[in-house]
């Protein structure tokens, strides 16, 4: 699947199947630190959602500040 980490301006491929929770763990993100978005359906993906490996996933951080 294609993974886009918007705030880091990174795009890369990852293998499925895996859950959103597993994906976040691999990328070292905590659940509520980012939104996980399925670019094709435009839906938010909660941590239990299974990813087949064909999706385009956007990871968008929620922390801002300064």
């Amino acid at each position: 699947m294609k993974v886009i980490v918007k705030h880091e301006k990174k795009e890369f491929e990852m293998h499925g199947p895996k859950t959103v929770m597993e994906l976040l763990k691999e990328l070292n993100f905590k659940i509520e630190e980012v939104l996980v978005i399925d670019r094709n359906s435009g839906k938010l993906l909660p941590y239990w959602e299974k990813l087949s490996g064909t999706e385009t996933i956007e990871i968008r951080k929620v922390i801002s500040g300064g």
């Binding site: 918007k6 705030h7 905590k30 659940i31 509520e32 630190e33 939104l35 978005i37 839906k43 938010l44 909660p46 941590y47 239990w48 959602e49 968008r60 951080k61 929620v62 922390i63 801002s64 500040g65 300064g66």
Partner: protein
């Protein structure tokens, strides 16, 4: 798969700290109800009052303007173009697109028109921290524009407020602790200030903005890299990870105890700035001081350049 606790349909959002799974529609409804509840609890504003909402182009401020309008409040947005290169261009574009889509009036002002240069250049020229200069300028311009409004609102969320509280406690900033509250009543010619998102987590405001199709700037201000507030947020998230509900308990517990700090607050007399009339602790306000310093430096530079060219 988890089901929405309200309607039983497949959930799209899960709020860990509240152990609550919700579908898209019920999350949005629940979010808006909680914002309204906060507004009522702290008597922040009535529907007849004119509210000026500070908008940066980020998720919190645009979501706040959107939700207040949806709840039937009389809102106008206020955006400052800070003149921070691509970041400010992008922010302004998001604000203008939002204005067009939502049909809400947004007043736009520009730091470069005030000072002849952007925030970064001012900071370099005066050799002062960028975030400090930026805060002073934004506060002044926002308060100046608020003249014909009843209330001014900002999109500070639970994570912002908990991080600020942490910083204030670690440094025992009694004055700041006394002033940290979801509503500050009008005083010394300054308008009433409200923070309707004070109990909404950053994850919730980002989720709400996404589900309500609000296009906001995701990129961070380049000067915010390494900011203390982001560091404190990271620490609080790690604590929250181990002990659910810590952030909300920390903040709401403080609000109950805040009276102790208010009684210790030094009563500083404010007087009008001799140059612009803005309420300040000294003869000249910080904003006019910045203007003066820039003019002096520019004058100095012109003189130096002139002499060098002779």
């Amino acid at each position: 798969m988890k089901k929405c606790r309200i309607c039983g349909k497949p959930a799209e959002v899960f709020l860990i700290s509240r152990n609550l799974a919700l579908c898209r529609r019920d999350f949005v409804e629940n979010f808006e109800k909680r914002v309204e509840k906060t507004i009522n609890k702290f008597r922040m504003a009535d529907r007849g009052e004119k509210i000026l909402v500070a908008v940066s182009g980020g998720k919190d401020s645009l979501a706040l303007l959107h939700v207040l309008k949806k709840l039937g409040y009389r809102v106008t947005g206020y955006h400052i173009n800070l003149g921070i290169g691509q970041y400010s261009h992008e922010s302004l574009k998001k604000v203008l697109d939002f204005q067009k889509k939502e049909g809400i009036e947004i007043i736009i002002e520009n730091v470069k028109e005030e000072f002849g240069m952007g925030i970064g250049e001012i900071s370099k020229l005066l050799r002062q921290p960028t975030c400090s200069i930026c805060g002073t300028i934004k506060r002044y311009m926002f308060n100046r524009t608020a003249g014909s409004f009843d209330v001014i609102a900002t999109g500070h969320n639970l994570d912002d407020e908990a991080a600020t509280l942490m910083g204030n406690v670690l440094n025992w900033q009694i004055e700041y602790l006394a002033r940290q509250y979801p509503v500050l009543e009008s005083k010394n010619n300054l308008k009433k200030k409200i923070k309707p998102f004070v109990f909404m987590s950053e994850y919730e405001t980002a989720t709400y903005a996404f589900l309500e199709d609000i296009d906001y700037i995701v990129e961070e201000c380049p000067y915010a890299t390494g900011a203390k507030s982001i560091f404190y947020k990271g620490i609080l998230n790690r604590v929250e990870d181990r002990m659910r509900g810590t952030k909300i308990h920390f903040l709401s517990g403080f609000f109950k105890q805040r009276g102790r700090f208010v009684s210790q607050e030094k009563r500083t007399e404010l007087k009008p700035c001799i140059k612009c009339g803005y309420m300040t602790t000294s003869n000249i306000c910080q904003f006019c001081r910045i203007k003066e310093k820039i003019n002096n430096k520019k004058g100095g530079n012109h003189e130096r350049n002139f002499l060098q060219n002779q």
